[in-house]
C-alpha cells in the first residue's frame, strides 16, 4: 500500500480529510444539479396538469423500446462505475480500469441508442414545428420538454464520459494515484446522471401508456 502522498493536494493535511471534502463538495454540486432537473420536471408537471390528455396522447408516441433498453444500459453503467470507484479506493488497478472502461462503453452505447431514437423521432415528425405529427397543440409542448430533457441529460452523459475517460487515461498511465478522491467524486456524479434518467424514463415513456 502506498501512503497516498502523491494524491494529496493543497490545502489539505491528510488524504482522509481531502477525500471527505471531495465527496462533500460533489454532493453540494449534486444538490445544485437536483434543482436544475427538479425545476425542469416541475415545469413539465405543471404542463402535464394543465394539458393531461394531450400529454397522455403525446407520451404514447415516444419510443418505449429504445427508452427501456437505454434505462438498462445506464443502470448497468452505474454498477460498473461503482465497481471501478470502489476498486480504485482499494488500489486494485485492474478492476479499476475494467470498471471505468466498461462505464465509458455503456455510456457511449446509451448515446448511440439515443441517437437512433432521436433520428426516428425526427423522421416521424415529432420535433415541434411545421409538419408536426399530432394535431392537439399542447402535444408540441410535451415534445418540447422531451427534446429539452433528453438533450440536457445527454449533455450530462457527454460531460460524464469526458471526465471518466480523462480519469481512466490518467489512472492507466499512472498520472493519477488510485487513492485520489477524484474517482469517487466522478462516480457520485455518474450516479446522479443515472438517477435523473430514472425519473425521466417514467415521465416521458410510461406516462402515456398507463
Amino acid at each position: 500500500m502506498s501512503d497516498g502522498q502523491e494524491a494529496l493536494r493543497e490545502p489539505w493535511d491528510s488524504l482522509r480529510r481531502q477525500r471527505e471534502a471531495a465527496s462533500f463538495g460533489t454532493w453540494l454540486f449534486l444538490g445544485s444539479e437536483a434543482l436544475l432537473f427538479g425545476g425542469l420536471m416541475m415545469a413539465f408537471t405543471v404542463n402535464r396538469v394543465l394539458h393531461g390528455d394531450a400529454f397522455a396522447a403525446a407520451g404514447h408516441e415516444t419510443n418505449v423500446v429504445y427508452g427501456t433498453v437505454n434505462t438498462l444500459v445506464l443502470l448497468s453503467s452505474s454498477l460498473t462505475m461503482a465497481i471501478g470507484a470502489e476498486a480504485a479506493r482499494a488500489e486494485l488497478r485492474k478492476p479499476t480500469l475494467i470498471g471505468l472502461s466498461l462505464t465509458i462503453l455503456f455510456a457511449l452505447t446509451f448515446l448511440v441508442i439515443k441517437g437512433f431514437e432521436w433520428r426516428d423521432d425526427f423522421r416521424e415528425g415529432l420535433f415541434p414545428g411545421p409538419g408536426f405529427k399530432l394535431q392537439e397543440p399542447a402535444t408540441e409542448i410535451f415534445f418540447a420538454f422531451y427534446w429539452v430533457m433528453t438533450g440536457l441529460h445527454g449533455l450530462h452523459v457527454t460531460a460524464g464520459i469526458a471526465v471518466i475517460t480523462w480519469f481512466t487515461w490518467q489512472a492507466w498511465n499512472g498520472k493519477r494515484a488510485l487513492r485520489s478522491p477524484a474517482f469517487e467524486a466522478a462516480a457520485l456524479y455518474w450516479h446522479l446522471v443515472d438517477i435523473v434518467w430514472v425519473f425521466l424514463y417514467p415521465l416521458l415513456y410510461l406516462g402515456g401508456r398507463a
Binding site: L28, S32, L36, L40, A43, A144, V148
Partner: protein, 566 residues
C-alpha cells in the same frame, strides 16, 4: 490566553520585518503573468475578480449614465426608444450578475474567508481559479451581445417578448448569464466546503465571525437557487433557437410559469446580494464601536432564517401577473415574515452602537450609511409586500427606488466600507483618511439625492422603463439625475485615492484598526500561506471588551484577539 500576535516582534526574531513574517507577502511571492493568471492562491484570485468586477462596474455604470442623461428632460433627446430599452437592459444585466452577485463574495469572500477561519486556502483552489475563467468567459460573451447590438428585454427576460418578439441578442446574453451562474455555483460549493472542512482548531460554528456566516448562508442560496435560473434561461434559448414552444401561449404554454421559475432564483438572488453586505457591516460596526456585537447568536439565526425563507417569497413579484388571490395572500404573508430577521439585524447593529466607544473612521461612516439606507429600503419593501399598495405602485419608480436602496445603498455602500476596512490588509497600505471620510459622506448624500425622489415620483405614478414622460415628473427626474452626478463622483473618488495609496500610502501595520479577527493576526499583506503558523482559537469573535462585562467608558480598553499561534 496568549496575545503574542498583537504584541509585535516575535521573541528571538532580531529584525522583525513585517512583509517577511511567514515568508514574503502574497503579492511579491511569485512574479510574472503566469503567476497571476494560473495562480491558485485565493488572495490573488480575489484580486483578479476585483479587476474584472471593476471593468463591469464601469460598463454597468455607463448604462446608468445614459439612462439618467436621457431622463433629464421629458422628451426623447439622446436615445431612441429602442436604444433606451437596450441601455436599461445593459445596466440591469451587468450590474446584477456581473457586479452585485459576485461583488462581496468573490472579492472579500475569496480573500477573507480562509483568513477568518484560519485556513491556508479555500477547499478547492483550482476550482476557484476555474470559476474566475468562467466569469471572464461569460463576461466576454455578454460584451459580445452588447457590442453586437444589445438586448432589449430588461434583465428579467420575460416571455413571450424574449422568446417570440425581441429582435435583439437575447440568446448570447442568456447564455452569458448561464455561464456566470456556473461560476457562482463553483464559488458557492467552494465556500461551503471550506467552512465545513477547514476551520482552525477551536473555531467552532458559533465562534465564526459574522461575515463567514453571511458568506455561508449566501453560498447555500447560490448553490440551490442558481440552477433554476440556468434552467429557465436554457428554456428561453431552446424556444428561440429551436422553436420549442415551452412557454408559447399559442400552444397552451404558460408565460406565468416562466415568471415563477425566474423569480424562484431572482428573489433569493436579492439575498445573495445583501447577505454578504450584512456580514461586512457586522464586522465594521462592532470594530468601530469597540463593542461586542449585540446578540451574536440571533445574528446567526437571522442569516439562516433569511437564507431559508428567501426561497418562499418569490410570488410577491407577480401580484399583478394573474396569480391567484390566495397565492398573493400567502406570498404577502411570507414576505412580511422575512422582514423580521432583517429587522433583528438592524436592531442588533443599533444596540451594538449603544454605549460603545464609537469612532467615525471611513469604514464606520459607510457602515452607518448602510444601516440608514438599508432600513429605508427594507421598510419600503414592506409597502411592496402588501398587495393593495403593490397593485398601486407595480412597475413604477417606487419599486426602482426600493431595490436600489437595498442593492446600491445597501450592498455597494457595504462593498466600499469593506474595501476601506480591509484595504490595509489586502495591499499593505493606508489610504488618506480625510478623503475617505469625505467620499463616504458624499456617497450617502449622492445616493439619497438620486433615489429618494424616485420614491415620490413612483408613488405619483411615474412608470419605470419609459424614456418619455409627462412634464410634471421632470422636477423629480432632474433631482435624481443631478444626485447621480454626486454619486458618480463618490464612486470614482475612492478609486483615485486608493490607487494613490498603492504607491504613496503609508505602510499598514498588521492590525491598524485593533480588530479581533484572525485575518488581523498575520502580516499586511499576508504571506502566501496566510499565517506564520496555523492559528488556534479559544474564544468567540468580537471580544472588544471582556466577556460578561459591559464596555468601559473612562478609557479605551484592550481587545482580546480571537486566535493564537500554535
Amino acid at each position: 490566553m496568549s496575545d503574542i500576535a498583537a504584541e509585535g516582534p516575535i521573541p528571538g526574531d532580531a529584525q522583525p520585518h513585517q512583509g517577511l513574517r511567514g515568508g514574503p507577502s502574497y503579492l511579491t511571492a511569485e512574479h510574472g503573468l503566469a503567476a497571476w493568471f494560473l495562480t491558485t492562491d485565493h488572495k490573488r484570485i480575489a484580486l483578479l475578480y476585483a479587476a474584472a468586477l471593476t471593468v463591469f462596474f464601469f460598463i454597468g455604470g455607463a448604462g446608468a449614465v445614459a439612462i439618467r442623461m436621457e431622463l433629464f428632460t421629458p422628451q426623447a433627446d439622446l436615445l431612441s426608444a429602442d436604444g433606451y430599452n437596450r441601455m436599461f437592459t445593459l445596466h440591469g444585466t451587468v450590474m446584477v450578475w456581473f457586479f452585485l452577485v459576485p461583488s462581496i463574495p468573490n472579492t472579500f469572500g475569496n480573500f477573507l474567508l480562509p483568513l477568518m477561519i484560519g485556513a491556508r486556502d479555500l477547499a478547492f483552489p483550482r476550482l476557484n481559479l476555474f470559476s474566475w475563467y468562467l466569469f471572464v468567459g461569460a463576461g466576454a460573451l455578454l460584451v459580445y451581445a452588447l457590442v453586437a447590438g444589445g438586448v432589449d428585454t430588461g434583465w428579467t427576460f420575460y416571455t413571450p417578448f424574449s422568446t417570440a418578439y425581441s429582435q435583439s441578442y437575447v440568446m448570447a446574453a442568456a447564455l452569458a448569464v448561464v455561464l456566470v451562474g456556473f461560476s457562482s455555483i463553483a464559488t458557492g460549493v467552494n465556500f461551503i466546503a471550506t467552512v465545513h472542512m477547514l476551520r482552525a482548531p477551536g473555531m467552532t460554528w458559533f465562534r465564526l465571525p459574522l461575515l463567514v456566516w453571511a458568506l455561508y448562508g449566501t453560498s447555500l442560496v447560490i448553490v440551490l437557487a442558481t440552477p433554476v435560473l440556468t434552467l429557465v434561461l436554457l428554456l428561453i434559448v431552446a424556444e428561440r433557437a429551436f422553436g420549442l414552444p415551452i412557454f408559447d401561449p399559442a400552444y397552451g404554454g404558460d408565460p406565468l410559469l416562466f415568471q415563477h421559475l425566474f423569480w424562484f432564483y431572482s428573489h433569493p438572488a436579492v439575498y445573495i446580494m445583501i447577505l454578504p453586505a450584512f456580514g461586512v457591516v457586522s464586522e465594521l460596526v462592532t470594530c468601530f464601536s469597540r463593542r461586542q456585537v449585540f446578540g451574536y447568536t440571533f445574528m446567526v439565526y437571522a442569516i439562516l432564517w433569511i437564507a431559508v425563507v428567501g426561497f418562499l417569497v418569490w410570488g410577491h413579484h407577480m401580484f399583478v401577473s394573474g396569480q391567484s388571490l390566495f397565492a398573493n395572500i400567502v406570498f404577502s404573508f411570507l414576505s412580511f415574515i422575512i422582514a423580521v430577521p432583517s429587522a433583528i439585524k438592524v436592531f442588533n447593529w443599533t444596540f451594538t452602537l449603544y454605549r460603545g466607544q464609537i469612532t467615525f473612521d471611513a469604514p464606520m461612516l459607510y457602515a452607518l450609511g448602510f444601516i440608514g439606507l438599508f432600513t429605508l429600503g427594507g421598510l419600503t419593501g414592506l409597502f411592496l409586500a402588501s398587495v393593495p399598495i403593490d397593485v398601486h405602485v407595480t412597475d413604477t419608480y417606487f419599486v426602482v427606488a426600493h431595490f436600489h436602496f437595498i442593492m446600491v445603498g445597501g450592498t455597494v455602500s457595504a462593498f466600499y466600507g469593506g474595501l476601506h476596512f480591509w484595504w490595509p490588509k489586502i495591499t499593505g497600505r493606508m489610504y488618506p483618511d480625510v478623503w475617505a471620510r469625505f467620499a463616504a459622506v458624499l456617497m450617502f448624500f449622492g445616493f439619497c439625492f438620486t433615489f429618494f425622489p424616485q420614491f415620490i415620483m413612483g408613488f405619483l405614478g411615474m412608470p419605470r422603463r419609459y424614456q418619455v414622460y409627462p412634464p410634471e415628473f421632470q422636477i423629480w427626474h432632474v433631482l435624481s439625475s443631478s444626485g447621480a452626478v454626486l454619486l458618480a463622483g463618490a464612486y470614482l473618488l475612492p478609486m483615485g485615492y486608493l490607487a494613490w495609496s498603492l504607491i504613496w500610502g503609508e505602510r499598514a501595520e498588521e492590525d491598524p484598526w485593533k480588530a479581533t479577527g484572525l485575518e488581523w493576526r498575520t502580516s499586511s499583506p499576508p504571506p502566501r500561506d496566510n499565517f506564520r503558523t496555523m492559528p488556534a482559537v479559544d474564544t468567540g469573535p468580537y471580544l472588544y471588551h471582556p466577556d460578561e462585562e459591559g464596555p468601559r467608558h473612562d478609557r479605551p480598553q484592550a481587545h482580546q484577539n480571537q486566535g493564537r499561534e500554535t
